[in-house]
Amino acid sequence: MSRQLAMLTLLLAGCSDHLVGLSGAPTPLARIQVQVEGDLAPLRPPGTENETPQLRVALVWGAQWLNEPFCFLPPESSEADLLIQAGCRDSLGFAPARVAANVAVEVGVPATLDLFDLPAADVMVGDVTARIAYGSLIVYDDRDGSGTLELRRPSRDGPEGPPPPDGGPVVDSKDIVYGASFVSMALPDRRLAFREGGFLTAAAFYPRAGCEPPPPGFSLLSAGGFSLDEARAAAILGRLPEEDPATCATSTLDQAVVTIALTRPADVREVACRVRRTDGSVRYNEPPGDASVLTGRTWACVGFPTLGSDPVPGQQLVIAAGADESCMGLTHYALKSCEEDPGCATPQWDRTASPPDWWPCQVQPAP
């Protein structure tokens, strides 16, 4: 008996332990094959040629956003048109919400980007029965060595911009974007999709009407794009702009390598710029005391564009972000207005009786 017990003990002690428990590396939830193509040297901005580039690819989930009416309605004047060119981001462009994953890459060498977290509910559009997230794969030079793409904000955020975590001054990202798989719906794009549940064909979240709905789970989608004029025309008819079905494609992650072409940073920088307001609303400001806000910037005096609501008399001064700033943006000044509504019954400020000396626009007389 004792011999049998001893043998049993030895047997038990000899069992190999295959348990992992709470430790162990997590399995990626998705693996995306990427490859960067092109010649980086001629694209590098002045002053960065002598740096050693640290190219990385980031997966960035897209934000649902709407441009302000001034940017997508037909311009009322040539000055307004110039201002739109200088300060409005592409109304069909990709706007980032959150960086999900990063991987170091070399030009011409395939790399695998591992995704360890699913997109959170705030980057998915729809309800729990049918929702979807779209992501763009962005190539960037990680100049600050942080290992991740830092998203930028328009620098003229003013009081609505969030304060930096340490309470210090806002420091803009040094990262330079050199390309993206999904820049704009006005261009051919290749995007990562994550779908849960059904698919809402009427949803206007980076729509690709005319293409097959994305399959459930992760997939890579391609589309040829449509113009802003086509989008306007479709909107008037209450429809979504149509993609050319011949340009549509869907593939699984293990079938495809996402090739991203290196591009001039000026053409793609907005994909790393957050939008100030995602609902298309405008924040109006009281004019400052001096004209320094106009220095070196494109500006125009324009009316208050509306989308079917009562017209607001008078003019506003709209100023574009400077060419040296990292993101496009507009700042609106009005002599009489509330922050959210220039036609409000009780204005938060009224300078119509004593406008600043430098005020270049029409003055609506005080009642």
Partner: protein, 195 residues
């Protein structure tokens, strides 16, 4: 002076046995047999997880009086979570036991030493893996192992009606894993049948 939990447990055990000491009443005089079967709920630290509470059921058989011997089997289950994994451990404890037992009034106290093995079945499920469409070993893995183990329990039994008694037990538990002894604890509550 602070005493470790183990030392305090032993002191409580000794004190309990001393207080319970009284002229023993022969089981035969009370009409109680040598065989006892008990079953109930089991709770304890998982054998191979550093945290959590494993809950389940157990059953035991002992034979004898002052010095008894027998066997116990218990199955318990615990699930713990990290940001990436949900880990479930099912512990099947197989013990040969020896017990030192004293009767006290309608009850009895016993110091029970069990030794044997604990068969651990591990299931690891990747959080969000099903939503992401993972399959196979990317989604879930499982493994088995047998760990040598031993338990020292103080068991208190109180006879309620006829051969039926209420049983409460608990004490330290040890497992040998990767050449290291890992301490834990185990407890139980249940009923015993002793004709």
């Amino acid at each position: 002076m602070r005493l470790s939990i183990g030392v305090r447990a032993v002191l409580v055990l000794v004190l309990t046995l001393v207080l319970a000491a009284r002229p023993p009443v022969a089981h035969a005089e009370e009409g109680i047999g040598d065989l006892r079967v008990d079953a109930g709920l089991v709770v304890g630290l998982p054998a191979a997880l550093p945290t959590g509470t494993s809950t389940g059921v157990g059953v035991g058989v002992t034979h004898g009086h002052t010095l008894a011997w027998g066997a116990r089997v218990s199955w318990s289950n615990a699930t713990e979570y990290t940001t990436s994994w949900a880990v479930t451990h099912a512990d099947l404890r197989l013990r040969a036991i020896g017990a030192f037992e004293r009767s006290a009034g309608r009850g009895s106290f016993a110091l029970r030493l069990g030794a044997g093995g604990t068969l651990v079945h591990e299931t690891r499920t990747r959080n969000q893996g099903m939503r992401a469409g993972l399959e196979g070993s990317d989604l879930e893995t499982s493994a088995w192992t047998m760990l040598p183990g031993a338990d020292l329990e103080l068991a208190v039994a109180l006879r309620i009606a006829g051969p039926w008694a209420f049983v409460l037990s608990g004490g330290p538990s040890l497992h040998l894993r990767s050449s290291q002894i890992e301490a834990g604890w185990i407890g139980g509550v249940g009923v015993a049948w002793q004709p």
